[in-house]
């Protein structure tokens, strides 16, 4: 577990803040910042760049946090939410729906560590899934472009599919470029000429 996580706690009540920070320090997390004044949320998230934000589900500033995450594309950031009631069904539903973590029993300090671990694990899985999905999408797009380029060569030069692909590959190798780049250039040129 990475011990250098930056954690931002959004909580106006100083007593609760103190308790949370103590619990986090006991659990081995020391890079913690607490924020009480909501108008500074925007700036603080941008400057402090926390890995995790702990915020109460009932806090109206959740909308602000959501906007900041949206604007700075921080799907790389976990948001852990406190709820003030025990509700296992809600917790389960939230976890399966992708909310990083819910702290059940309100702010039960002995649970913060496990909740944070859940949040971090959850956020790592999400991030990995997202990058795998992006890679798969990109591969599919690349494939389509290469197929279109092959089609153009087959039509214009009367080549078989294999020969068309070999020509693309040979050109790419001789120019020290990727097959996709050559295919993309060909497709673009063909669009301009058509």
């Amino acid at each position: 577990m990475n011990q250098n996580l930056r954690i931002l706690v959004v909580e106006p009540d100083p007593e609760r803040v103190r308790a949370i920070i103590d619990a986090l320090k006991d659990a081995g997390w020391s890079d913690v910042k607490a924020l009480a004044h909501m108008s500074a949320l925007d700036r603080t998230v941008k400057e402090f760049a926390p890995d995790i934000v702990l915020i109460d589900l009932a806090n109206p500033d959740r909308d602000t946090l959501e906007h900041i995450s949206h604007a700075t594309e921080t799907s790389k950031r976990a948001v852990a939410l406190f709820v003030d009631q025990t509700d296992d069904i809600l917790t389960q539903a939230a976890l399966s729906a992708g909310v990083s973590a819910y702290v059940v029993d309100g702010l039960k300090m002995d649970r913060i560590k496990s909740v944070l671990e859940t949040a971090i694990a959850r956020f790592k899985i999400m991030r990995q899934m997202q990058s795998e999905l992006d890679a798969a999408k990109q591969a599919l797009e690349d494939r389509k472009t290469i197929d279109r380029a092959k089609g153009i060569l087959m039509r214009q030069r009367g080549l078989s599919e294999d020969d068309a692909y070999n020509l693309l590959r040979k050109t790419a190798m001789s120019q020290n470029r990727k097959v996709f780049d050559v295919a993309h250039a060909l497709v673009t040129a063909a669009e301009l000429l058509s």
Partner: protein
């Protein structure tokens, strides 16, 4: 008769009135519904509670179901818009400093205000909006997109904190729903410059939304809810009921606000600057007249296109505005409805009669400030 219990989420703003009236005046009870109104602290909390099944239905900002349907922001869920709850009702205001900078601009002149703000020297204009997926934000970006010299920074601020955000210099301007614009004027920290209607004359503001699978599984309850809200909206729009409506809203536990704060939105008499007489704004906030509750699929398409959706996204958005259910569930109670479910958005400059199921229906002007027309058919 046993009553169906229905949990409906809302955010305490004046335009949650149709839900409060449906409950408090017994329209919901007459339909056999025990309407349980559940206050939510933020739009994202409301959205999550609906998506996770802890609310059956909810008041939402009109772009929220569209954004959710095309997979933008937050929890993925298929959410339907059953009907529109309110049209217009938002205000744009600037801090006293900015007001002094730009000099006199007539109230409600979107073009003049835009050029005055564009020629203003200084850094970006920081504008507070309540939520990223809100009509406020879409109108702001639509309005300012034609002024390349005007640099805007959009900042999300919970509406009850908007006046403080202006006072602290955290934002220079804001676009917010009532009563929070009037509150900023009351604290003498800002001046109102125009209303949302000055950018788009007929902008769907709040909608009644529910999860798609819940609607499919609870046909009766959705119909009961829609009829109750429709009757409440008709009651609210009758001018003679306005004083009583203000009274009921102020007394209900759902809106913790004094009558003074609720009155401007419902009466349309808006104080734009401290120590001046109220300016009467026609059609400031509409609940019922001019088919206000009808979920036009073209409104969904406009929202989706402003959110940057492609053709497939626009189709998904149109499908989530359930004009079909509206027709099916409200025809029986004599609701008059337009013949088509889509229209050109922005084409109407005057009140116009169009074909309807009962002959003709008068539609409100829906022009945009720049005269553009959007045809998504």
């Amino acid at each position: 008769m046993s009553q169906t219990v229905l949990n409906c989420g809302y955010v305490p703003l004046v335009d949650c009135a149709p839900l409060v009236i449906a409950k408090e005046l017994g329209f919901a009870g007459e339909e056999g519904l025990a309407l349980n109104l559940v206050r939510q602290p933020s739009w994202s909390a409301l959205r999550d509670m609906l998506a996770l099944g802890h609310l059956d239905a909810a008041q939402m900002l009109s772009p929220m179901p569209v954004a959710m349907s095309i997979g933008l922001g937050g929890l993925p869920a298929r959410v339907d818009t059953l009907m529109v709850l309110s049209v217009n009702g938002t205000v744009f205001g600037v801090s006293n400093d900015v007001a002094a900078d730009i000099g006199t601009v007539p109230f409600g002149d979107a073009n003049a205000l835009l050029s005055a703000l564009s020629t203003r020297k200084g850094a970006k204009l920081r504008v507070g909006v309540p939520f990223h997926y809100s009509m406020h934000r879409l109108l702001l970006s639509y309005w300012t997109s034609t002024a390349p010299n005007l640099q805007i920074e959009e900042i999300t601020v919970p509406p009850p904190r908007m006046a403080d955000a202006v006072a602290d210099g955290f934002v220079d301007a804001f676009w917010v729903g009532e009563p929070w614009g009037s509150v900023a004027v009351g604290q003498n920290v800002a001046q109102l410059m125009m209303t949302g209607k000055d950018v788009w004359q007929f902008a769907p503001e709040k909608v009644l939304a529910a999860r798609h699978d819940w609607v499919e599984a609870n046909g009766d309850a959705s119909a009961q809810l829609m009829r109750a809200v429709y009757k409440a909206s008709a009651w609210l729009d009758a001018q003679k009921n306005t004083p009583l409506a203000v009274e009921i809203l102020a007394r209900s536990e759902h809106l913790s606000m004094s009558p003074d704060l609720i009155d401007p939105a419902l009466s349309g008499d808006i104080v734009t600057k401290q120590n001046t007489a109220p300016t009467p704004v026609g059609r400031f906030l509409q609940f019922h007249k001019h088919a206000a509750t009808f979920p036009w699929r073209s409104q969904a398409a406009w929202i989706a296109s402003q959110l940057g959706a492609d053709v497939a996204g626009i189709e998904k958005a149109k499908a989530c505005f359930r004009a079909d259910l509206y027709r099916q569930n409200l025809a029986g109670i004599g609701a008059d409805m337009p013949g088509a479910s889509e229209k050109e958005e922005g084409a109407l400059h005057f009140e116009t009669a169009v074909a309807s199921t009962r002959g003709h229906i008068i539609l409100s002007p829906d022009a945009f400030f720049d005269g553009r027309i959007f045809d998504f058919s």
